[in-house]
């Protein structure tokens, strides 16, 4: 099964992310949106979900393909998924790293049906530079890392056997 465009991936990714978040935050309301056509700030405004967001949300002029929100009592958890319909490159990673550094989501996924390109895989695995995936290092906690993975189109899910991230323990408990 192949996608003719990246956009074709979005509906399946939205469903997967919603299930992923609901099953890990069972007592919270979850909302998942296709964010590819508007800025994150606009998405938050249009959906009226700015409460419990950090004050700088108005400055988030970034477009993430699929965005999830988990509405908790004290704050809103966010999740990003950046989709590609070709092998993932350093450029793709750099883009999502930038977005994640800005908005500090709880989860951040970079996915494609082809998985990482040879050069990206080589950097992360052969040269053991998974530290470059980190985007947040909260005090007293393990760092948060981008999750690079292959998307499994028939199952409409990430292929857990292909996950690469900085900290396996954190991935384990995802």
């Amino acid at each position: 099964m192949k996608y003719s465009s990246e956009r074709e991936m979005y509906p399946g990714v939205c469903v997967w992310l919603e299930t992923f978040l609901r099953e890990r935050h069972r007592r919270s309301e979850v909302k998942v949106c296709d964010g590819s056509r508007k800025s994150l700030a606009r998405l938050i405004t249009d959906n009226g979900i700015h409460k419990r967001m950090p004050p700088e949300w108005v400055s988030w002029d970034i477009q993430v393909d699929v965005v999830g929100f988990v509405f908790q009592k004290k704050y809103t958890v966010t999740a990003f998924v950046e989709c590609k319909n070709s092998a993932l490159t350093l450029r793709d990673l750099s883009q999502l790293l930038g977005y994640s550094r800005i908005a500090l989501p709880r989860y951040s996924f970079l996915i494609s049906p082809q998985g990482p390109s040879d050069s990206l895989r080589s950097l992360l695995m052969s040269f053991n530079r998974r530290d470059v995936l980190r985007f947040d290092e909260p005090a007293g906690h393990l760092p948060r890392s981008i999750v690079v993975a292959k998307w499994h189109p028939p199952g409409e899910s990430i292929d857990w056997g292909t996950v690469i991230a900085d900290d396996s323990f954190r991935i384990g408990r995802l």
Binding site: F20, H25, R26, P154, G155, G161, I171, L174
Partner: protein
Amino acid sequence: MPFRLDDYIDSDVAYLAGLIIARGTLEGSPQRRLIVEFPYSSLRATGVALSFDQEHSIRLGLNDIRERMAELLDTDIQIVRHTSKIDFVVTFIRNNMIWRNILLLTDGATSFPHFTVPTVFFDPELPTDYTLQFIRGYGDAAGNVRKSNLYVDGRHRVRLDVLNYSTNWELPVSICRLLQDRLEIPIHLISWGHPNLGRDFREHQINIFAEVYLGIGFSFDHKQRILEELAAINAKRVPYVEPRPCPGVRAAHGKKPKNDEESNSGRLDPRLVGEHFDGYWEICKRLGCNKVPPDDGQITLEFVDETSGDGEE
């Protein structure tokens, strides 16, 4: 995390649990070792147009699995070739947390004739992708996809095998519950290795249509490619039939002949000894399946009983 479980679990642990329950053996001495067998009965794995060297393909795929498991287990992993199987051997130097966690998952059992599905996978709080990884692990070690496993209407199926021991008759029913109730993956039927159903005491087979099993998939590239090929053939061959879950009860297809082996207490689960069965679902019921059709129409849905041995390899 909101869910509370007995011990650590994640998608990698779930995958490993699937491998272990399918074909694992835990040896305590002289060295703590986990051995998972990857059997291959024929030299080639064949789809319709596709064909792969089994041994070579399994060894290639096992390298990826070794990479994944090395991160999880942080210990020595060997891949050992035999004539008709390849062993995946994990050695533990100490009685560490990983080893203890594995024993917790198997409830203290140490070999696949005695394993059951770990209770954690029935926990409603457990994310379904962990359960899916458990089934993928199981299928990687004990699943078959080949062109010969056809239903009478020409659709191809995947088979999850459960080797036949008196101690593990409940396992197919438990796997069926996981697939149908937790993952909403419809099972076609279970071909029991029971003398009443024409298969003596051969392995039990959980049959799932190929297009449905795509949702789980295989980690071995050769199996995955054959699966995709056969699923595409199903879609062309019988395009308007959507696989339905086993309703729990089917319409009777006549009486099966009596067989002296119905009382073989050395091979049968105690609940089955001395009992006669005319349909696969009757065995499922005796072993704990509590599924009932929502209406009688489900019982009479078109279904061809293959358990006389026709249509099977």
